[in-house]
Subunit: 128 residues, 2 copies
């Protein structure tokens, strides 16, 4: 049903089905940070502070909440290594791999439209 | 660079480039509603109240802000038909078409993982 997006205008029911599917997807991976956390973990497992450093602009509080959500929704695992000190690492689950196509299309779009997006950012900042 | 997502773990610089591209994309189309508004307009031009009805759960105030952002960023045009009463319609711009692949991959993912997502929704509501 969603392949119709690429062709003519979709019918009302197709539109509704696509809307629902996108709403479902955005429910678990929407927002400013979740996909960025997942991409950062693709490079390898990371501790909280490493993640905080790699993903610029996120507060520790928000990062903590986002990690909990991602864990609850099965995208990441929290690995605890007992010892002194206790080390906690975050790793992607196999389920997170299912997002590859979404991540790929988003990053392709972002790279291709970079100039326009940067201009938009400036405009929005000037208006704020 | 982003095609590496599908293969082994990306290097730090690849990861950084992908992170930036995704951050750029999410800057203009991130959040809960923007992509849903775009999908709703794929079916055809709509007036404010029609959009409000089709996209369940959005408040009029938020819809209004989102429409302004989408217009500022070039994804939609606001068409004003003078007359009595004045009619205002929103339509997608050709630029919005560039999001087809992103929308396609998101809705495919949402449709494929519907069961798991619905379970997550229940879990999160139970915790809230």
């Amino acid at each position: 049903m969603t392949s119709k997006i690429e062709k003519g205008p979709p019918s009302t029911s197709e539109c509704k089905a696509t809307l629902n599917a996108i709403a479902d997807a955005l429910y678990v991976i929407g927002g400013k940070w979740k996909l960025r956390i997942i991409v950062a973990l693709k490079e390898g497992n990371k501790r909280f502070n490493e993640l905080h450093r790699v993903i610029g602009g996120i507060s520790a509080k928000v990062l903590s909440t986002e990690l909990k959500d991602l864990e609850l929704n099965g995208f990441i695992n929290r690995k605890v290594f007992t010892g002194t000190p206790v080390v906690v690492e975050y790793e992607l689950s196999p389920y997170a791999e299912t997002l590859n196509e979404v991540l790929h299309s988003l990053s392709e779009w972002g790279a291709r439209h970079r100039e326009k997006v940067r201009k938009s950012m400036k405009k929005q900042k000037a208006l704020a």
